[in-house]
Amino acid sequence: MIKIIRIALISMCCALLMMPFQVFAHTHHQESPIPKAKPNVQTGEKNTLQKLIDATEPGGTLLLEGRTYRGTVIISKPITIKGSKDTKIASLDSAITISNTNNVVIEDLMIQAENIAIIGEKVDSLQLKNIQVEQRKAGIQLTNSSGITLKNVDITGEEGHFSTKGHAIAIYKSKGVQAADCDIWRVMDGFYLEQVDNITLKTNSIKEGRYAVHLMYSDNVEVTTNKLESNMTGLMIMVANNVSIYENQITKNNTLNSLGVYLYDDEDVDFHENLLSENTVAMSIENTQKMEVSNNEFSTNGTAIQAKKSETLQLVDNQFFGNILTMRTDQKGVQLHHNFYDDYAGKDYDGDGIGDTKYIATNSFGQWMVRKPVYQYFIETPSVVILNLMDTEVTDGDTAIQIDESPIVMKKNTSRDISINVWQLGCSLVVLIAILFARRKLR
């Protein structure tokens, strides 16, 4: 009797396993460049994910096993999908498509898709947590959605030049995006947000992409405590309103045409307490109004600030050191006030912490570079260094130059240990004695 029941159960399971084959025939995304003829290879592998999703009631929770699910799935109802250790979705096309639904939660998954890993359209309240994506064509692409939460989403692209890759997280025409703790590496744009309202990006780390964060036509933006390193450009914010950027580390964005931060046609920007270091150009501002840049550290960049058509830009209480060029601007200039410059040569005889003479931030070579980029070849050549020395002596009376009337003279504390490096001392002494000995011999 028990035997019969067992046989019946097994055959039922087999029948269930055969069914999903029909489901995948029509799930290809329209834009897919992947040949559609490619079959879902199912070499004895069970593929029950879509079935499992279909079997879960709306609003229910689906727990996945720690194995690889192959194929493409479509989600069109409220659902929570939770993976466990080693749960992986592999697809020759897009992996997960979510559309026309609300309250979708996806957690603890690895995704490997030849096309886009996750596509979402018209989703209200979508949460993606602890997800790892091996990006081929693109990572996550969401359109016309709202209430999007991305937490600990790690996306890794392949090797190669960024111009051949897709965006990691692209969101279009949506409202309310919160992204935190995402690690993104080797993609085109880390975050590409177009026409999105209410954005918070927090403690993300984005490396070796084209633009780490690229916002267009987006309002009410908060970007904080992110690490943007070795991209072509760290922050690229275009045509945005009410932007707040603070406590980010924007470093080593120093490839061709690189900028640490680029703002184009923005309004109402608050930029404070960021670290910008080792970028080709730390900050480039164009056509931006109502912007205040305060308490930031600009260290060892090629050019610290570059500004065009942004005469209301306020730079207050920032520290500039080790930059080759502090500033270059167009005729309109910017407002400099109460910053620290390590190449300020003036003195503070009245001891109020503010230099007694003004600081001139621009030089004519920098202005040439704006006009003809080829001049960049001459950056810090001996001839240009000498030119700059003469330059600062004679620029008085020129209207295009940028001046800080009240530069700070207090030096930032650089804590360097004054200890004796015995090994180096010994070695150099030995070599020195050897040199002097040889010198005597050769007399």
Binding site: H161, R210, M216, Y217, M236, N241, L256, N257, D265, E267
Partner: protein, 152 residues
């Protein structure tokens, strides 16, 4: 000695400028190095790229037709030898004065300006059958309200 060097270099310059004076030929876009002159975005979507060949044969590259128009607005046309935009269908370069333009807020372009160029009005109409939009004559492009600059 120095004078001689000067003369040599000047001669060199004249030779270079003299070569190919009349033909304003478009050049290939290099997505690894080219950035838009106006908005500074790298030109990775090369099928939407535009370029201006100046009368001194310098080439200025743009990522979107809207940026090219902004350039013309800022600098005028007297320096411009020719201006080119990609044909949506063939990706060939079209002289901007010969192209037909279609606009829709739903068309995607790198700067989201939503204006596409076609070799002929025929092709433009063909495209509009599937993707509704409106024909924009070239003369209107200069006064066109580019993009969705809400706060301008």
């Amino acid at each position: 000695m120095k004078l001689w060097k000067w003369l040599c270099l000047l001669l060199f310059v004249f030779l270079l400028t003299a070569c190919g004076e009349k033909a304003y030929k478009p050049r290939e876009i290099n997505p690894e190095t080219d950035v838009c002159h106006i908005c500074n975005m790298s030109v990775t979507s090369i099928d939407y790229a535009a370029q201006v060949v100046l009368k001194n044969n310098d080439i200025v590259v743009f990522d979107d037709l809207g940026c090219l128009m902004e350039y013309i607005k800022q600098n005028g046309e007297q320096e411009i030898g020719a201006a080119y935009i990609r044909d949506m269908n063939s990706s060939n370069w079209l002289d901007i004065k010969d192209a037909s333009y279609v606009y829709s807020a739903d068309y995607w372009t790198p700067m989201n300006y939503g204006v596409l160029a076609f070799a002929s009005e025929q092709e433009a109409k063909e495209y509009m059958k599937e993707n509704p939009g409106e024909i924009v004559p070239y003369e209107n492009l200069l006064t066109f309200n580019w993009g969705v600059h809400e706060h301008e």
